[in-house]
């Protein structure tokens, strides 16, 4: 199967979710009286679903630019994790690399990470197709929402669950592919704990800190989770090559 065919198939659930969620965003923007061009522009340059939703009432209220700066940092800090975990995969992706990084949303990240990774293997074409398709779905959804505005009648309530289902499926796949379940449980558990203890606005940032601490502890107390020696051997071999 070609990279594009595979990507089109894999992104189908994202297509459904982004089209509807994008429309939701577009409708909200048009109800606040914003020009459709502003809606489309935001979906092109930000391409960050939850941020765009949070931003609409703030835009309407004319909040200060500093507010937008800090809110974006808070809502999107999780992207730092994504970058850290695809550093190796995206190496050698050449001119496409900046776009791959620019478009690293929750959903793109999860599809990229679902692919088994072999060091040195190039899947740039597939990553690029996934990123671009997702971006286009998102833009199309928000444009459609902006145009249709209040006239929308289709009862799509609950369709956003396709994102939850996508993440659950990836979680199950990853679970079945390894015997070492502690990192998955740490992610689940730490986020749950901080959601319960700290409430909705800030729990994600706190969860990220807790996850980092827990993963670092894990490395020092459970040797089987330490860096895979094979990966390390490859990296060191590469560095040998660089010297030559």
């Amino acid at each position: 199967m070609t990279a594009w065919k595979q990507a089109a198939l894999d992104t189908l659930p994202v297509f459904a979710a982004y089209l509807i969620l994008g429309m939701g965003f577009g409708v909200m923007m048009s109800r606040e009286g914003f020009s459709i061009w502003l809606t489309i522009l935001m979906s092109i340059v930000c391409f960050a679903g939850s941020l765009q939703y949070v931003a609409v009432p703030l835009l309407a209220a004319g909040a200060s630019h500093a507010t937008f700066f800090f809110m974006t940092l808070l809502v999107n800090a999780r992207h730092i994790f994504y970058g850290l975990s695809v550093l190796e995969r995206y190496e050698g992706s050449g001119l496409k690399k900046p776009y791959l990084i620019f478009g690293l949303t929750d959903e793109t990240y999860s599809l990229v990470c679902r692919q088994p990774y072999v060091k040195g293997e190039q899947r740039t074409g597939y990553y690029f197709a996934v990123t671009l398709l997702n971006h286009l779905y998102w833009i199309a959804g928000s444009a459609l929402g902006g145009i249709l505005g209040n006239t929308l009648r289709f009862n799509s309530r609950g369709i956003e669950f396709s994102l939850t289902a996508l993440f659950v499926v990836i979680f199950v796949d990853q679970w079945q592919n390894t015997k070492r379940h502690l990192p998955a449980l740490i992610g689940l558990g730490m986020t749950l704990i901080s959601r319960v203890l700290f409430g909705r606005p800030h729990f994600l940032v706190i969860a990220m800190v807790l996850i980092l601490i827990a993963l670092l502890l894990l490395e020092s107390i459970r040797p089987e989770y330490r860096l895979d020696v094979n990966i390390l051997a490859n990296v060191e071999a590469d560095q040998e090559d660089d010297r030559v």
């Binding site: 994504y82 609950g158 369709i159 990192p183």
Partner: protein, 108 residues
């Protein structure tokens, strides 16, 4: 309405978002000797982060009423059951989503 204040706000959000996505790549450029710790994290983070995202998308679930958590609980069970049975992501995701939509629209 096309307002400049909103336009600048959007560009700020775009810049900061790109910043959060580019930061790791700027800190650890290609070919540079990456610290062991970063390599360890890139090995264990993907599974931890998907676990985090599962909870993140369920952040609006409440236990104060049955309709606040039961549709999610049932639909997730359906997704897992379908996935264990067929191993086809589209069937699991599509089936679970249709089930959830029926639950929130018709039942709860």
């Amino acid at each position: 309405m096309f307002d400049t204040h909103a336009l600048i706000a959007i560009l700020i959000m775009a810049g900061v978002t790109a910043g959060t996505r580019f930061l790791p790549f700027l800190l650890f450029p290609r070919g540079r000797n990456k610290p062991r710790l970063i390599l360890y994290l890139s090995q264990v983070l993907p599974t931890a982060v998907i676990g985090m995202l599962v909870i993140y998308v369920l952040k609006d679930v409440t236990f104060s009423s049955i309709s606040g958590f039961l549709p999610e609980l049932i639909a997730i069970a359906v997704v897992i059951a379908l996935h264990a049975w067929k191993k086809q992501p589209l069937i699991s995701i599509g089936g679970g989503t249709v089930c959830y939509m029926l639950l929130v629209q018709q039942v709860f």
